[in-house]
């Protein structure tokens, strides 16, 4: 697991630094996606997570749903294009789980990717991801995850 300024980035996941989201490819070819620990730290306590409807097709880097924290509303960007096949209803009901466990119980949605092989090339993992997040944190003047 990479630790960047106190924020963890598990090695087995794929990341979009721009969207501050992660994706994990499951054995059945679907993906699970969520927010990074860094994204959670910038947002502060998340009080709402509302996904687009199951069955909706979302393009890579377009909004798959919205979160709210401290009265800010913003999109959660899809890490790859695909159909939304499941939403974490427990996190929608208790959004605190997203901050508490962003890579586990706080996952946001599952998608059936359109073309994982091609689009995942734009995602980063391992050392490359850690490097990209360090650059992003530097540019954004981020002190560190608490």
């Amino acid at each position: 697991m990479a630790l960047v300024r106190g924020c963890n980035f598990p090695d087995e996941l794929f990341y979009s630094a721009e969207g501050n989201v992660w994706a994990r490819r499951e054995a059945d070819g679907t993906i699970t996606a969520g927010m990074t620990a860094y994204g959670c730290a910038l947002s502060g306590e998340i009080v709402a997570w509302v996904a687009k409807k199951i069955g909706r097709f979302v393009e890579q880097n377009k909004s798959a749903g919205t979160i709210e924290s401290g009265k800010w509303v913003g999109p959660v960007k899809a890490p790859v294009s695909g159909e939304i096949i499941a939403v974490n209803e427990a996190a929608a009901a208790m959004p605190g789980a997203i901050n508490a466990d962003p890579y586990g119980a706080g996952w946001l949605l599952r998608m059936k990717p359109l073309d994982w092989e091609r689009e995942s090339a734009a995602l980063l993992s391992g050392k490359a991801a850690a490097g990209a997040f360090e650059v992003k944190m530097q540019a954004e003047g981020f002190a560190g995850c608490a």
């Binding site: 709210e68 009265k71 800010w72 509303v73």
Partner: protein
């Protein structure tokens, strides 16, 4: 695009047009079509939901329909508000790099502190109260919220110039609704407006001037008058077609029963403490709480500040939040204990 900011005033409009302009300007800023912008706006009587709220849960829909109060959904977060001609709205549309931080709480703090200085220049002592209020002597005079999209953000606030508290109480389902006849007085203890504080309603041009000067000073940037551009108007027409529809207003639809107004009162050694609160039963969060009763607290604004600190708090954390609040300030409670406030909240819910 960051060097000189623009100020526009889009005048008095129906809610749907104002919200469509929110969407249009945020998108245009994100696309790099417009400079950073300060916008002033006013509303025909409207009930405005936070983006993630449900009209059934937050509003008295029958009253709104019978009294020509438009119902709309904002693109920003936070709670439902009543907005009419007696208030002025202010909004900033910024590139995220110009906001000075990626930390959203810090961005809100910076903008609200600047707005508070602008309001104070009118002759009242306005202060930012985390997370999103600007208050005068503990009473809220401006509520705020934001939205972001890619590399752009917008942050908006109200400013109460004059204000019809009674109408607000009728439109919103807030904890006052069952405070048996005392609700108007109770609301007046929590909400301030410029006309009451100053003894006269300041000219809107003066209000705008002071807010603009405060933002210009905070961001160290000239702000020059401008107009909506053709690109914004094109985006606006597209946004209005989507927003001026029931689908948008009803985007989130939850039963009123899931967000009840609950009450309790209890006699403690320190006096009678009564609470009325809005509770999100699904997420088990306290949305808003009002205390009343017969007890001694000094300074008096402690109660209003405690209510602000307890907005949108998970029930599981209520004791810790109340304790943390009193640990951080000097307040005299006589025989009342901080834990009593949490206890009466628990009683209302359980």
């Amino acid at each position: 695009m960051g060097k000189i900011w623009r100020v526009i005033d889009t005048g008095l409009r129906p809610a749907a047009e104002n919200i469509a302009l929110n969407r249009a300007l945020l998108e245009a800023r994100q696309a790099g079509e417009i400079p950073n912008t300060l916008r002033f706006l006013r509303f025909r009587p409207s009930a405005l939901l936070g983006y993630h709220q449900s009209a059934e849960q937050e509003l008295d829909l029958d009253y709104c329909r019978a009294n020509g109060v438009a119902i709309q959904r904002r693109i920003t977060g936070g709670g439902a508000i009543y907005f009419d001609e007696t208030q002025i709205g202010w909004e900033l549309y910024l590139g995220r790099e110009d906001a000075g931080s990626a930390d959203m709480a810090q961005v809100a703090c910076r903008i609200c502190e600047a707005a508070a200085r602008g309001i104070s220049a009118l002759g009242v002592a306005a202060k930012y109260r985390p997370r999103n209020d600007i208050e005068v002597d503990g009473k809220k005079i401006s509520g705020t919220g934001g939205a972001f999209e890619g590399n752009a953000l917008m942050y908006q606030g109200t400013l109460l110039v004059r204000f019809d508290v009674e109408k607000m109480l009728r439109v919103l389902r807030i904890p006052a609704e069952k405070l048996d006849g005392k609700s108007i007085a109770s609301a007046r203890e929590r909400v301030a407006n410029l006309a009451d504080l100053l003894g006269f309603a300041p000219e809107l041009d003066v209000v705008k001037e002071q807010l603009m000067a405060a933002f210009a000073q905070e961001f160290d940037i000239p702000i020059l008058p401008g107009e909506l551009t053709a690109a914004e108007l094109a985006r606006y027409r597209g946004a209005l077609a989507e927003i001026d529809r029931p689908d948008w207003v009803n985007l989130i639809n939850r039963p009123a029963a899931d967000r009840p107004i609950l009450e309790a009162s209890r006699k403690f050694p320190g006096g009678l403490l009564r609470v009325s609160l809005a509770f999100d039963a699904r997420a088990r969060r306290i949305k808003q709480v009002w205390f009343s009763g017969d007890f001694f607290v000094c300074p008096k604004r402690t109660v209003a500040d405690l209510e602000a600190a307890l907005r949108d708090v998970p029930l599981a954390e209520i004791e810790a939040r109340v304790e943390g609040f009193f640990a951080q300030r000097q307040a005299e409670l006589l025989l009342l204990a901080p834990a009593d406030f949490a206890a009466v909240i628990r009683q209302a819910i359980e």
